[in-house]
Symmetry: C2
């Protein structure tokens, strides 16, 4: 019962503001100490934490059972219960995830650029940690491990604020991270979990700009919007993923069918899932009917414009709001467009600048699309579901940023760093 | 009288909120159109604008005379009057500055990284403009040209909000930029100047997050703080430049004298000027007296700790607040420290993480300093006054960022960009 007991005995006798300031100060100090820490020490902490996760799986499952009971009592939805639930396989996944992060290259200390000035000054731009990352998430307890591990690997201290539903589970997982840090002789405040489910703590965290360098919210739209609204600290987050597939007039039919079906239906709930299909009118009659057939066969609802409806009686009418709706479900809106320009225009008007794919054998059309559409990820002849840090070869990701600053697209350990300039001279003074 | 007349006839018949939204929408549209614009078109606009600046120098001087009259009537300080004043040489400097930006490499389209995945996907990270930049500045009318030019070169649309003192001068300069854009067949809304000196406009600009991607304030501390406090848009700005020179026990005396004198006295009002000198106690008796002598001979006031005072009777007592004061003046605080660790500790405690220099012949000590001090720029055996985009070879800069995100240190055209991922496939779908 250790995890649950720990939670219950931590009765807070300080107010939440004072608590958060204390966490912030501890994180800042721990971050400074961690910054120059060796790759070996960080990896040792991750491996030790993975071992603790496995050794304490009983405690974690027990803590999770307590969360699940409370969640059922407060009538949490089935989807949320599923996100919250842990079992042996998921716990092994958490341990494996920590080891995977240990296996990633360490970004800290990378020389990103190096040049020499005419006066002999030798300038290098060197990757360093951001400092302290505040991570606010909802019911998935595994985020505690994932986010903590990515912060640690990138040399940052983390303040984790999990959802109240996963309070006990997150505490049990956090305890393993804490033991991992101690085993590697790193400060335990490198990864702190906010020890209260008081919602005021989130607001306080968002105002800790003296101690926290960046906020990463992970969760539903209302959480992200609240964080953007209230934060005094820069936010890296995923807002909308209204992704498009555009079947150009020179698209190979088989390839178009494969890509559309995969982009929509492989997993409908991820941000890289396609939500709108655009098809050139020159190939609407040949390409759209089989594509629609595939989708409907796979259980997808298709909502189309008049031209699309005329090709298949099962297509329902798309309304204006369909072009701006991220369904995250087995629904696709379909529109027949005049040409490449009309497709680009549609995407720029209704899209969310996340991920778009063009299917075509015309290299010139592809280049125009890739060049002119202003989205984080643009693909030619590939599924939008590749919008993922792992698929990009960046290793684990903390999310996909829809912002334009600092990190755009997948946010892995490299994106959780900044840099400094190191200048070697031989006595130079400025004239 | 054209510049002044233009200003006077623009009586606003819409409220400031509506005006700013209109400017934001126009900037967003112009930015989208500008994004894919050729380097040639952008450079042509810059050259044409430079020609207009020279051709209309009479108008600009007349507009500036109107600003100067109003400024004297409202008793602006001498320093502010000097920043506001234009003459033939400064106007030529503005024209030359535009041509210099035209000569910089175009960052847009740069392939920053390129790799192939095991499934054959070819991924590249390509530099693209940020979008729309809001620039808020004070009395220097030349910022109108500098900031507009850097935004244009980096493919961004700019909304410029100059100080009310430079209203007429900025309008006259902006008119030249507008004509330059038209001459190159680029949308004139690529560089817009807020046409009202209503202070409400700043607040409105800071809330235009739908249309403006980044805010760059340039000016004094109170402006920057207000912008950080009120902005709903990410801010890149320079806050404090409390730079240190540390003379290590193995410093060459001649080099130390040269570097300290230059770091403090070359120009005292720039952010890279040294404000605090730290000297190892092992060389305090040999090195400090000549260094203090140089400074006092050059007209610098020296405030020191007890050890420093004991070495030269002209040194006054430094108080605790001296270690956190950015004088931007001919004043230096001096402290004798035990060793490298104590120097690092002092800088981390009191510094602003801007620029620090170590003077030493001990490579190992230098590496520790460069590695462990967490500042944007760290120098070994060189003056802190090299903290400058031009000196770094980055060309003109819009400022030096003291933030850690996106841009740290000098902010040139490259730092005014973001990137997108372009992925080439051959029909890949995600398993």
């Amino acid at each position: 019962m250790s995890a649950i007991e720990t939670a219950e005995i931590t009765t807070l006798d300080e107010d939440t503001g004072a608590l958060m300031t204390r966490l912030g100060q501890a994180a800042r100090a721990a971050g400074s100490a961690l910054g120059p820490a060796s790759t070996e020490a960080k990896n040792a902490a991750l491996h030790a934490a993975a071992a603790e996760i496995r050794a304490r799986s009983g405690d974690i499952l027990e803590a999770n059972a307590a969360d699940m009971t409370a969640a059922r009592e407060s009538n949490l939805s089935g989807a949320k219960l599923d996100r919250l639930a842990l079992d042996d396989a998921r716990i092994e996944g958490i341990a494996k995830g920590l080891e995977d992060v240990a296996g990633l290259p360490d970004p800290v200390g990378d020389v990103m650029a190096y040049w020499t000035r005419p006066n002999g000054l030798r300038i290098s731009r060197v990757r360093v940690p951001l400092g302290v990352i505040g991570i606010i998430y909802e019911s998935r307890p595994n985020v505690t491990a994932d986010a903590g591990a990515l912060s640690l690997k990138s040399g940052n201290a983390a303040i984790l604020r999990g959802g109240s539903e996963s309070h006990y589970s997150s505490r049990a997982i956090h305890e393993c991270l804490r033991l991992g840090l101690l085993a590697a002789d790193l400060p335990e405040a490198v990864i702190q979990l906010v020890p209260t489910s008081d919602r005021v703590a989130v607001g306080e965290l968002l105002r800790l700009h003296e101690y926290v360098d960046i906020i990463v919210p992970r969760g539903g739209r209302s959480l992200i919007e609240r964080v953007f609204e209230d934060s005094r600290i820069p936010v890296i987050a995923h807002l909308d993923g209204l992704c498009h597939v555009y079947v150009h007039g020179d698209a190979d039919l088989t390839m178009a069918r494969d890509i559309v079906l995969n982009a929509k239906m492989r997993r409908t709930g991820i941000c890289g899932a396609a939500e709108t299909l655009l098809v050139d009118k020159s190939v609407a009659e040949t390409h759209l009917p089989p594509i629609i057939g595939d989708l409907i066969d796979a259980g997808c609802e298709v909502r189309g414009d008049t031209a699309t409806q005329s090709l298949d009686g099962r297509v329902t009418a798309a309304r204006e709001e369909d072009w701006t709706t991220e369904y995250l479900d087995a629904i696709l809106s379909v529109r027949v467009v005049d040409d490449l320009d009309a497709a680009i225009q549609h995407i720029e008007t209704y899209g969310s600048h996340h991920t778009e794919s063009i299917v075509t054998d015309d290299t010139e059309a592809a280049e125009r699309f890739l060049n002119e559409v202003d989205s984080a990820i643009l693909l030619h002849n590939a599924s939008t579901q590749f919008a993922d840090g792992g698929e990009f070869g960046m290793g684990a990701e903390i999310g996909i940023s829809t912002g334009r600053l600092h990190a755009r697209g997948p946010v892995g350990v490299e994106q959780l760093t900044t840099f400094k300039y190191v200048v070697h001279g031989s006595g130079q003074v400025r004239p």
